[in-house]
């Protein structure tokens, strides 16, 4: 492999990795945009989504097979189920605290994270589950670069979801309501917008996207476990902050850039792949210090 090959292969790698980060980061960013909550349970929602998808696929593979048809059905159904889980979490844990100080709801989010994490750990006895599918490793070869069909489909699916989300936010009345609430919740209430319903919808969409990422990660990597949401939750948070938290295109850009940073950063000959997390979290610190509003964020003036 010459240098050009390595660079091209890394671009392909970073697209996959970045897709997962971006999908999870979107949920962080949407929720933050609308109720100013850093939903630290979001990584665990991703994990639960993967487990729901896993269960569904084992049930569905009898009728639909474990190829793309079965997987697509599992992704869609898991998105719906996990979306409702997000709504339930919002209703039980966050809505009663909407008017409480920000810190209370942040701590509640950590509590939710622990509940989900430990529930899945207890239910799976802490074991790894092998996500078995009928997919093979066939793919396209360009010289020594190899890109499997699975990778192509995953990136396309992510692009599709993101386009859908962008249209939903910008073109529908619900999207408009979300944008309005993120600007001024009280004014929206006065204008007759059902704020609670829109917040619930935001959680639904955010959780559904995380579930899509979770199931796709399970299919792609081949195994899922109860702590899979922890690191990706933190990375997605980094991506969301990187792009500018609360800003939808920012989360997408942040995810893709973070994926690229990890893929290329660890390719330097004197730095091993074990430095991956150092890159991500080092970046988080740098951004929080030097550009806390992120790449696409506006400078906000806080009234004290």
């Amino acid at each position: 492999m010459d240098t050009l090959d390595i660079i091209s292969q890394q671009i392909a790698n970073s697209l996959i990795l970045g897709s997962f980060y971006a999908l999870v980061a979107l949920g962080y960013s949407m929720v933050y945009g609308i109720i100013k909550l850093l939903n630290f349970a979001h990584g665990d929602v991703y994990m639960v989504g993967a487990f729901i998808g896993f269960t569904l696929l084992s049930l569905l593979s009898g009728f639909l097979g474990d190829g793309w048809l079965g997987i697509s059905a599992a992704v869609v159904l898991s998105m719906i189920a996990t979306g409702f889980l997000g709504v339930v979490i919002q209703r039980i844990a966050y809505r009663p605290l909407l008017s409480a100080p920000r810190l209370s709801i942040l701590i509640t989010a950590m509590g939710v994270s622990l509940v989900l994490f430990n529930a899945v750990m207890a239910a799976t006895f802490g074991e790894y589950k092998a996500f078995e599918t009928g997919l093979d490793f066939e793919g396209v070869d360009f010289g020594s670069i190899h890109i499997s069909h699975t990778q192509i489909v995953l990136v396309l699916a992510t692009a599709l979801l993101m386009t859908g989300l962008t249209l939903f936010i910008n073109r529908t009345i619900y999207g408009k309501a979300m944008r309005a609430i993120s600007i001024d919740m009280d004014a929206c209430r006065l204008m007759g917008i059902d704020v609670n319903k829109i917040i619930a919808l935001t959680f639904f969409v955010g959780s559904a996207l995380a579930a899509a990422a979770g199931v796709m990660a399970g299919v792609y990597y081949g195994s899922i476990h109860f702590f899979m949401g922890f690191i990706i939750g933190l990375k997605a948070f980094t991506a969301a902050v990187f792009g500018g938290i609360g800003i939808i295109p920012g989360a997408m850009l942040g995810g893709l850039l973070l994926g690229a940073l990890e893929s290329f950063g660890t390719q330097m000959p004197w730095i091993g792949t074990e430095w991956k997390d150092v890159f991500s979290f080092g970046l988080l610190i740098l951004i929080l210090v030097f550009k806390p509003n992120g790449l696409m964020g506006r400078n906000e003036i806080e009234r004290m």
């Binding site: 790698n13 802490g126 092998a130 996500f131 190899h146 081949g222 476990h225 660890t266 991956k276």
Partner: protein
Amino acid sequence: MRKIALLFAVSVLVAGLAAPAMADIKVGIMVPTTGSEATYGKDMENAVKMAVDELNAKGGVLGQKFTTFTADDGCDPQMATAAASKITSAGVDAVVGGYCSGATLPTLKIYADAGIPFVITAANSSKFSDMNPGNAFLVNAIGSYQVETAVALFKKMGVKKLAIVHQGDGYSEDLASLTQKKWKESGNEVVAYELVNKGEQDQSALVTRLKSKNPDMVFWTAYYADGGLLIKQLRQGGYKGKIAVGDGSTDAKLLQIGGKATEGVYALANPLPEFLTTGKKFIADYKAKFKTDPGPYSALTYDGMMLLADAIKRAGSADKKAVTAALKKTDKFPGLSGPVSFTDKNLLATSNFVVLLVKDGKWSLSK
């Protein structure tokens, strides 16, 4: 109300009096029952319980029955020291277990301070030979024995350029660095020596790095959960060379996680019950009892428990010092996985590694 309280007090008193003059022999089991290595941990716990049930069914040893007490070491040094303290304060007579070397090493001192004999049935870092305070006994062959088997395999396969990947924990780093040393000594080249973080799902950056070095063989020295991911991603990334894994990855779960990618993967293994002539009855009994297949360390752990019982019998009591002395004198104890004797450092005296190959989605003995 008072009557009930009185009745309760009396019954407690009677229960106290009725306790047998000969106390039970309490055996601590220290294994990971949660986390990424939980499968192995439970296999081992089952194996001890099976041995204990068999011993108790025959009336125990010296007229004393065995009871067990399990603590979860989570394959984590901190959790393990907590588990060891728990076991020590539970007043056990001996401990069996120890799966992850990294988690087992820091507990040695805790058991040594309490004078408890510790039969280690899976962990096999070479560091045990220096760090053993004298009360720990390794029933499994240590890592360096495995290295010799590995190097012999690579030579036989005509490998020239070797890539080694480990996870930076006591066990996998030990195996990786020893293999690197031995391989270089035999005049061959190590083109890549890499470390990946535990629990990292995406290994594409590593795969590209490995592919750019063009190795004939990638040797994974860590555990099955991440090993399955790496093998799958190596094949997905278009790597066409050979792959071998160390004994920590020799598990059916590796085949499930890696799927079709694991076909043709070589593995170094401890004597698995299914490849042992003595293993047939063990497998049948284990399956009947636990409704699942015995894992790779269950036979060794069963041997460990039986060896402990044998040592107690030879010592004539469950006295910790006497049992430790008796364990030290073990001479060719007939275990399922072969005769057990110890070196002067309490390590297993003879190697017991075999080479396996994945064929049609199953482990089979490689010729």
